[in-house]
Symmetry: C2
Amino acid sequence: MSEVVGAENVLVDDAARLARATGLSYLDLLRRRSPSVEFPVPDAVVLPAGPDEVQAVLDVCVRHDIGVVPFGGGTSVVGGVAALRGDKASVIALDLVRLDALVSVDAESRIAVLQAGVRGPEAERLLGEHGLTLGHIPQSWERATIGGFAATRSAGQASSGYGRFEDMVTGVRLATPRGEWKLGVAPASAAGPDLRQLAVGSEGTLGVITEVALRVRPTPAVKRYEGYALPGWAAGADAVRDLAQHHALADVTRLSDVDETEVSLALNAGLKTAALRRYLAARGVRRPCFLIVGWEGSAHEVAVRRRETVRRLKAAGAVRVGKALGESWRHGRFAGPRQRDALLDRGICVETLETAAYWSNVDELRDDVRAGLTASLGRAIVMCHVSHAYETGASLYFTVLTARDEADPIGQWQRAKAAACEAITGLGTISHHHAVGVDHAPYLSAEIGSLGVEVLRAAKSAVDPTGILNPGKLI
Amino acid sequence: MSEVVGAENVLVDDAARLARATGLSYLDLLRRRSPSVEFPVPDAVVLPAGPDEVQAVLDVCVRHDIGVVPFGGGTSVVGGVAALRGDKASVIALDLVRLDALVSVDAESRIAVLQAGVRGPEAERLLGEHGLTLGHIPQSWERATIGGFAATRSAGQASSGYGRFEDMVTGVRLATPRGEWKLGVAPASAAGPDLRQLAVGSEGTLGVITEVALRVRPTPAVKRYEGYALPGWAAGADAVRDLAQHHALADVTRLSDVDETEVSLALNAGLKTAALRRYLAARGVRRPCFLIVGWEGSAHEVAVRRRETVRRLKAAGAVRVGKALGESWRHGRFAGPRQRDALLDRGICVETLETAAYWSNVDELRDDVRAGLTASLGRAIVMCHVSHAYETGASLYFTVLTARDEADPIGQWQRAKAAACEAITGLGTISHHHAVGVDHAPYLSAEIGSLGVEVLRAAKSAVDPTGILNPGKLI
């Protein structure tokens, strides 16, 4: 391996290997905090410098039958980077951090090619020099990478406007055990199935994504975020559905349920909560659901689009809360993962999970997941929001807080998560944007059929006949 | 077979078999007109009544190793329904015409499930009873079917607004030799690769599509179509790109090049051509490119969206030609295929072909395809239009007219088509919405890589291990 990437880019020390051994799920954090819990650790960390070196590393791994776990930002919350080795004697973490370049910009076509290891902020900085933005801002943005976004079908907080990550992918370059694979020659095609959509979401099992061609947009001159309150969950969901079904979605559209709104009111004294409650109650909103809406673009575009959104929101009974709520959310939007560490220190079990469903299933799905979680956990705070809306349905994102069972903290959450996954199966997707990894793999065949799993296995065998790529993930 | 579908639904007479032997390409029409040209004909036509009967027919075909060519509207222009038998002793045309039901409507989620054999007009009639529309109107609409749209990644004339057919597909049900396969539980998902996008575009090679769940929209109260003239191709393409990159595309957006505009002016005396030319010339448009734009929706939506489109068009130098041009196109938009028969009678070689590319390649692609066609054909009229625009690129649709070489009419077009395909390879996709079939199969591996073809073959082996499904197509 050293002859491929240089000896200084093959790390075998404990700190380097441990740092690439897990993602950032609650269970990952528990495992890392508990000296008694064992988890798999890669035998080495390899840091190739570019697509050619990634390919060369794979060739070595094929020859020596070494498992390969692609590693980007390490922000998986579903075990996507767990150092499983399957039937292999050894496994490496293939850290893509050195694939850090903006490869090309085609301003006319609004396409930029970025290497897989570029993190969210660096992608925006590199594109910003060309007056462009990706607009892909998931909560993991500060650490997560372009390759990881593509491998997991990421969705960002502004994806109602900018699209999900797979909507932005115009092309993809992968290193596979059978050689390089490049896809994407046109914005749309009828040249058979869209194999880009097979590569996107393949979670390192069909190849190592080394470069991604992405649709980009001009850096917005104006970003306007504001808050509204809807009278209850049903009214809120109806309002978001109305926007989604009438070309009137804002770029950011995030509806909290009553529980999440109450927690946010309780935590956010700066909003002058009591006065706000009186103001809303006077307008008939006694159990508010907060809605954050945000538009980005030229001043003219934002004005035109905002007018439509606001017109429909008012007709749906929304009461404007003002810019403070929108800006408060915007500035705090990466804080969640950091707050989690503080909560863990205080004996709290805190985790999130998410799904999506067609509109006619959304309410039942929310009720069933809440019921499953509370039946398993007992006293718990379960909050929910819609973070992504489509014409045909919406995502649901749950945040759960409960007292940690110190006797069996891992089992406590595993049981609750299983209850939630069982509630989801049949009503929605097992993941809207967190991906499958290890944690959701048992539920995949219920969603895509045993034939679907066999098709994925067959595709994998075609590009990875000896099964070195990310053993134990997805399928 | 008779025990599955009833004896009356197994047709072996020549007329029935011949009627399902070809599609509607120029070469198909030539073959049908020439008594000396042989083409493959299915051994029988089988007409199952629903998804269960389709599955039962496939089971019989697996047992007896019979090839199966799914047959919808028979409008393929790329040999998609050619009765090839591969290594099978016999082959049937599986005509899906009896799968003609609207299965369900979920108005809240705006999803309707239609069976595969429903034709375009019937789909609109069935949905219209619920106040809904699909809005998918390709030129083949009068005959083509829901299953065919899905199997070929169809794009309609209004797909700038309603989306391509694959954008409408929320779920798909297939019969495969390994059993039924159902996909689609949510509007978006990160549960691995999107296998719906593998089924869509699979052209009968991965299964027989029996039902499709589709995003629908309310029947528009207003349809407004109008025409503009742009000063030349470059200005026209720039204007369409500007619309696509600023949320300002009309639902129908169709830009003709100078040659197509000249033919349309010459054919359309009702537009008072001379006066129109003077009017345009006085406004600086001497070599006009016509642009048809159309909006559909509520009166308010159409007004708001039209205002944005027109504002940008005027800034781009477009001169309004008026509603007559838009309405004239709208009413004549299915006439092309019918006119072709008349032209064939008069010794004309007439055919269309299409591609798509990123914006920075669009001009070169248009030039190269035109050059390839005229180098091969000699004197020919080659017209081109953009019928579908995206943020990152556009489709190009070519219509070719030339004197037929009566000594070798098939060879004449095969050579010209090969020249066009070679011009396309490397710059664009081999098909934007006509699909692969037989005619484009030789060019697929240049587009998706030999690994891409192997992945498709592997996927096919998983669901169709004995290879009965649509032999010789796609891969």
